[in-house]
Structure formats: structure tokens, C-alpha cells
């Protein structure tokens, strides 16, 4: 029985302009627009990374804490009592899920100096599936399984929308009921709405009268296995796979739809899918797809004339 390093998870900015992977003590961040590929040495080993919507900020979790890397060479590190399991960043807001005595605490920071927000939110025995941030509205959406055996994959699906106020964070909405059966979330959608999707349907929830979150509309969309929203929340992109019995092979696809009317704008075949993949759709519907595979390399594709073509290939440092 053996173990060997798994290629790192690639992360795309929501607009698809920047890709990043963190491996060992190195953050690799590359711009698909200007072609810059700076490597940044981190003061700690990295275990997770998140990019802001435009890619100008990267938040990296590691064994000593979290580090904020700005577009230039700026780096700010905050020590934590335990390695964060998830990070997210949007605008000035940076958040992390930090384990404490078997429970997860949501902690938040502001600005370039990672000024700590007051307090934290106890999310309980949560095995997180995802965490998404809406910086301008000071909101964070967490989702996953909850319960004493959540990390075993056994528990109750749960989602929580946390507002980071001046007095500290608080849970503004718990999606236990409205999002039953959801496979994942896209957030923020236009107006700060939350999208909860199953394999066949996207449900949009928004604050209603009285402050509660209510179902606004639903869209029927086929094959929603993993979805992302564009920066302005007007579109979603999603990936799915179709099995070809004759060749005993999967064929991967990416779909893009407008949320306003549910119209599917394009469906693209995925030419290569490695260990981990990331997807981004910009406000105009342009698709960027990144994947990492063995030996450690990162390949980024962009859609041109209805076909995904490789735009960037990077050999990932061994760490």
C-alpha cells in the first residue's frame, strides 16, 4: 500500500482570467490574459487556495495559517491554531473554515492586512463540500454534511448563509429545508441570490419580505454535476459526462446557460480531464477550463469557435 502526491486542485478566478495552484511552499498563479506566471514562495506549506473574482487576490491555507497574496508581490500571513480546511475570498473579504475540537469555525478577515473580523461562527460538526464568498454584500455560503459522522460521508446535507457584520458573523439563513436534494451551490448570483442545483434543476433563492430567503424561480437544466456562476451572476456553466458504451469511455461536456431565461448557449466537449478540474464562465459566456494531472502539470483551455483549445500549460513544481 502506497501513497504518492496527488496533483493539486486548480482554481480559476470567476472571470476565468487567472488560474492558480498551490503546491508545497509555492503558489503558482498565471494570467491567461497577460501570460504572466509568477511563482510565490509561501511561509508555509499550502493545502488549499482560493482566488478572488478577478484573480487579483489569492488566499492560501497551510500548516501555519492563511496567507493573502496580492497581485503584485505582497504577502500577508495570519497564524491559525489549526490548518484551515477551506478558504474563500471575494473583494476585501477573506474567510476560512478552521477546525477546533472536532467542530468547524468560520473566521473572516478584511482588506490587504487581513484585519480580523470580530468573532467567529461555530458551524458544528460539518464536513464541508463548498464555501463561496460575496465580498460586497459581506456574505459567505457554506455547504456540506453535518453530524458526528459527517466526515465519513454520513450526515445531513446542510447549507448556511453567514453575514459578516460589524458585531461579528451570524447565520442569516440556513438552507436545510429549501435546498433539500441539492448537489451544490452557485453564489452569488445576480442581486446576491443563491443558486442550489440538483442534476436536473437550478433553484434560485433570494431574500424575501421579512428577511427570509425564498425560492424565486427554478430552471430545468440537464446534467448539472458541478456548476459555477459568472462574476455578475447572469450565467452558469456546468460540467457533465456521457458514457460511450462502444469505447467504454466517458466523454466530458461543459454547458453554459443564461439564468434569466434558462437558454443553453453552448455545449462544449472537454478534450482532457485530469485528476482535478476547474471551470469558469465569464459575463459574456466565454468558457475557461483548467485541469491538473500526472505527471504534475496544469493545462488551461479556452473556448474558441465552439471548441476548447489549450491556452496554457504549466509544469507544477514538485513542492
Amino acid at each position: 500500500m502506497t501513497h504518492r502526491p496527488v496533483p493539486p486542485l486548480p482554481v480559476l478566478s470567476r472571470d476565468g482570467s487567472v488560474v492558480a495552484v498551490a503546491t508545497g511552499h509555492t503558489l503558482v498563479r498565471a494570467s491567461l490574459v497577460g501570460g504572466r506566471r509568477p511563482l510565490l514562495e509561501l511561509p508555509h506549506a499550502a493545502s488549499a487556495v482560493a482566488l478572488s473574482a478577478d484573480g487579483s487576490r489569492a488566499l492560501v491555507a497551510g500548516d501555519l495559517g492563511v496567507s493573502l497574496a496580492l497581485a503584485g508581490s505582497g504577502l500577508r500571513t495570519i497564524e491559525l491554531s489549526a490548518p484551515a480546511t477551506r478558504v474563500a475570498i471575494d473583494g476585501d473579504l477573506a474567510v476560512a473554515l478552521v477546525p477546533e475540537d472536532g467542530r468547524l469555525q468560520l473566521r473572516a478577515w478584511w482588506g490587504d492586512e487581513l484585519e480580523p473580523a470580530a468573532g467567529s461562527v461555530d458551524l458544528g460538526q460539518l464536513a464541508p463540500d463548498g464555501m463561496l464568498a460575496d465580498g460586497p454584500r459581506r456574505r459567505v455560503l457554506t455547504s456540506g454534511l453535518r453530524g458526528p459522522r459527517a466526515r465519513m460521508g454520513e450526515g445531513d446535507p446542510t447549507a448556511a448563509l453567514v453575514e459578516i457584520g460589524g458585531d461579528g458573523p451570524r447565520v442569516a439563513w440556513s438552507g436545510d429545508g429549501e435546498t433539500e436534494g441539492a448537489a451544490g451551490f452557485v453564489f452569488p448570483l445576480a442581486g446576491g441570490a443563491v443558486g442550489a442545483y440538483s442534476s436536473t434543476q437550478l433553484t434560485v433563492l433570494a431574500p424575501g419580505e421579512g428577511g427570509g430567503w425564498q425560492r424565486v424561480r427554478s430552471l430545468e437544466l440537464a446534467g448539472l454535476e458541478a456548476a459555477v456562476a459568472s462574476s455578475d451572476g447572469s450565467r452558469i456553466g456546468w460540467s457533465f459526462s456521457v458514457y460511450d458504451e462502444a469505447s467504454s469511455q466517458d466523454v466530458g461536456y461543459i454547458g453554459v446557460a443564461q439564468l434569466e431565461n434558462g437558454a443553453v448557449e453552448q455545449t462544449l466537449a472537454v478534450p482532457l480531464s485530469g485528476t482535478f478540474s476547474a471551470l469558469a464562465v465569464d459575463d459574456g459566456g466565454a468558457v475557461t477550463f483548467a485541469t491538473t494531472g500526472r505527471p504534475d502539470r496544469l493545462v488551461v483551455f479556452a473556448a474558441e469557435a465552439g471548441v476548447l483549445v489549450p491556452r496554457l500549460e504549466i509544469e507544477i513544481p514538485s513542492g
Binding site: H3, R4, S81, A127, E225, S248, R294
Partner: protein
């Protein structure tokens, strides 16, 4: 040139130290000198010299002084020494991490895994790449691989053990306690039959968080009591990735995905897909593909078992030494032991079960209680009031 000269001086000094009259030298000092000689000129050369001494019936130390060894490669000696020091540093760092991990409360599996290591439940090895790994691998028909020391001697709880430098090109390589891997990126392995957990220095260099993940991964292999069938090995890796190293924990455990004509949860698929495409786990692809020709999917036994293993069910999911003690005690007992047990005449094996049961903490009890495999083990080995008592205690 200066380096070479100094190395020659050191080699000659080593020889002279062996020549020193034994009357003035303790046995330990002589042994140390021989070890130094071995270190600087190599095992094979030393063996050859001692063989010459024995053949001539003369004291080895006298003949050694006449032996003309080839000039040592100063750079090679320096690299060898640096590697030994790096090995010492790796061991010290890991020992510190184990102490820290056992003392923290944020991560139960980590605390348990460090307790597991510190208790000697598994033999922990920290393996360092030899300074001559490339050449050593080539000579040993492992070209492109990596040579690590020290295994099987040199576990962390014992004194450090090093390796023999290949001093002269004509000498045979001494690969005592060298561990070869054709895949140089492997950074940990486990041998459940000998309860070995080995971690390469590449896992150490990536920092404590990464090391802890590999430790939890490899310890789960030791804790899960897996069988050695293809399916047993697959399940053990699946558990180790999900529960231990957690590389795929960024992938949803709840979202459903469709691949290869089956429905999976996304994390389950990610782990399977990685193993299927990784030659390190070649048996997975072989066993899976062997069934593709069977049109009736219900008859594809391996594929069905893999797809149905959606969560990392384990008899010891958190690497608890207390759960390990308990399962060992249960497996040692029998229905006959339970029947023979009474307050007046306690059965030793049943008493061991009760003792191990009492040592479980609340989390341990919850893990045991949730495991269907553990429940089957209880039923197979315990009966009557003993089984009832155990189940009652586990429910608390």
C-alpha cells in the same frame, strides 16, 4: 583538490585508528573505528580486507595498514555525510511532529495516528534518499526510481541506521537496508503484515500538515484490517484517501456524477478515477477492465463492489489504538471462551475484551457501533451475556 586531500587524510586516519594496539583500546572503540572505516571506504572494501586478514591468519588490524585502497571521492563522502545528517534531522523533525500531533485536540484522527506511532503499534520509518540514489537504482535495475534508507532496520523508535557508501567503482553495491521504488514520487508505504508505516523525506519536506496527512493515510491501512484481494486493497486505499490524507476532500461527498455507465458520488469517483489512472494502483484498472466484456452489468462483481463502496466504512476509521486493542481482544476470543466465562471463573480472553472495551472513549464506541464489519466480528467471536454486555456498553 583540497577536498580530495582532506578526504584521503581522513581515510588514512581511519585506517590508523584500526591499527592502534588493542591493549590500549576498548572493544567499543575498536568497533567504532571499524564502523568509521566502513563508512568512509564502504562495506565491501572492509569485508574484503577482513577476509584477507582471516585468510592469512593474522590480526586484521596489522594487515589493514598494508591495504592500499583507492582514493576516496571527497565529494561523494561529503554528500554521504550530508545525507546522514539530513536523515538525523528528518528523524528529529518527525519525532517532534509526532509529539505535537499527539498533544493537540483539533484533529482526532491525527491525535490517534500519532499515538499509534508513539505507542509502537506500527513501526514508523522515516526514509531518506541516498546521496547516490540515481546510480544505486541503475545498478540495482531500478533505473529512474529512488533509493531510500533505512529499511527494514532503523525504525524511528530505535537508533538511526545508515547505509554503506559505494566507495569504489569495482566494489559491489551494498544495498543492506536500502528500499527501492521504481516510482520516485511514492512518499509513503505501508505493510500491514508487519505493521510498517514508512514515510519518505519528500513527505517531510512538504511540511507538517502534509506529513500528518500521509501519516493518517498510511496508519489507516494498518488500522483497517483489510484483506489483500484487489477489492480489499482498493477499499483500503479509498479509506486512506478519504479519511486519512484527504486530497479529494475538496470534491463533494454528496453530489452525484455519472461515469463509465455508473452513478457515483463525486468524491468517490475522484478517488477511483485517480487510482484507475495511476500505475501505482495498476491492479484497479486491470480488475475493472477485465469485466468490461461482460454485457450484463450485474455480473461484473468487482465493478459492482467498487461502485457500491460509496463511503469509507472502516472497522477503525480514526486510527484509534483503543479500537485496535479492542478488535484484537475480540478476535482472540471465541464463543467457547464466552460460555466458559463466569463471575466465579472469569475467562482470561473475555476479561481482555472487557478491559479493552472499558478503555474505549465515547468517540471510539461510536465508531465501533457504526461499523457493520465490526458488528459481524463481534457476532463471530462473542456470544451470550458477553455479547450483550459489549453491545450495551457500545450504545452508551
Amino acid at each position: 583538490m583540497r577536498d580530495l586531500e582532506s578526504a584521503q587524510v581522513r581515510d588514512e586516519a581511519a585506517l590508523r585508528s584500526v591499527e592502534t594496539p588493542a591493549a590500549a583500546q576498548s572493544a567499543d572503540a575498536e568497533a567504532a573505528a571499524l564502523l568509521e572505516l566502513q563508512r568512509t571506504v564502504g562495506n565491501a572494501a572492509l569485508t574484503r580486507r577482513l577476509q584477507v586478514a582471516r585468510d592469512l591468519g593474522s590480526p586484521g588490524r596489522r594487515l589493514l595498514s598494508r591495504y592500499h585502497h583507492p582514493p576516496a571521492d571527497a565529494h561523494d563522502i561529503a554528500a554521504f555525510d550530508a545525507t546522514r545528517h539530513r536523515h538525523d534531522a528528518n528523524r528529529a523533525k518527525v519525532q517532534g511532529w509526532l509529539d505535537d500531533g499527539a498533544a493537540q485536540n483539533h484533529d482526532r484522527m491525527l491525535r490517534n495516528s500519532c499515538q499509534w506511532a508513539k505507542a509502537g503499534r506500527s513501526k514508523i520509518y522515516v526514509l531518506t534518499k541516498t546521496h547516490d540514489s540515481t546510480a544505486r537504482c541503475a545498478a540495482a535495475h531500478h533505473a529512474g526510481g529512488a533509493a531510500w534508507f533505512s529499511y527494514p532496520a532503523g525504525e524511528l523508535s530505535a537508533a538511526a541506521v545508515y547505509y554503506a557508501r559505494h566507495a569504489a567503482a569495482a566494489d559491489p553495491w551494498d544495498n543492506t537496508n536500502i528500499n527501492f521504488w521504481d516510482d520516485p514520487s511514492v512518499d509513503g508505504f505501508n505493510d500491514s503484515t508487519t505493521r510498517v508505516v514508512a514515510l519518505m523525506e519528500t513527505a517531510v519536506a512538504r511540511g507538517s500538515a502534509y506529513f500528518y496527512r500521509v501519516l493518517k493515510h498510511e496508519t489507516q491501512h494498518a488500522a483497517d484490517l483489510h484483506d489483500t484481494t484487489d477489492l480489499g486493497r482498493y477499499k483500503s486505499e479509498f479509506r486512506a484517501y478519504w479519511l486519512g490524507s484527504g486530497e479529494f476532500n475538496s470534491v463533494s461527498a454528496t453530489a452525484q456524477v455519472h461515469h463509465l455507465g455508473w452513478t457515483w458520488n463525486a468524491r468517490q469517483w475522484a478517488i477511483f478515477d485517480d487510482m484507475y489512472n495511476d500505475t501505482t494502483y495498476g491492479y484497479v484498472k486491470t480488475a475493472w477492465d477485465a469485466e468490461n466484456g461482460e454485457h450484463d452489468r450485474t455480473k461484473r462483481a468487482f465493478q459492482n463492489d467498487v461502485v457500491n463502496f460509496k463511503r469509507p466504512e472502516s472497522v477503525n476509521p480514526e486510527n484509534s489504538i483503543r479500537v485496535d486493542d479492542f478488535q484484537q481482544a475480540v478476535q482472540a476470543a471465541s464463543h467457547a471462551d464466552c460460555t466458559a466465562d463466569s463471575a466465579a471463573h472469569p475467562n482470561a480472553k473475555v476479561t481482555a475484551v472487557r478491559t479493552a472495551l472499558a478503555a474505549l472513549d465515547a468517540n471510539d464506541r461510536a465508531d465501533v457501533k457504526a461499523s457493520t464489519d465490526f458488528d459481524a466480528m463481534l457476532t463471530a467471536h462473542l456470544t451470550g451475556t458477553v455479547l450483550t454486555d459489549v453491545r450495551t456498553a457500545l450504545a452508551r
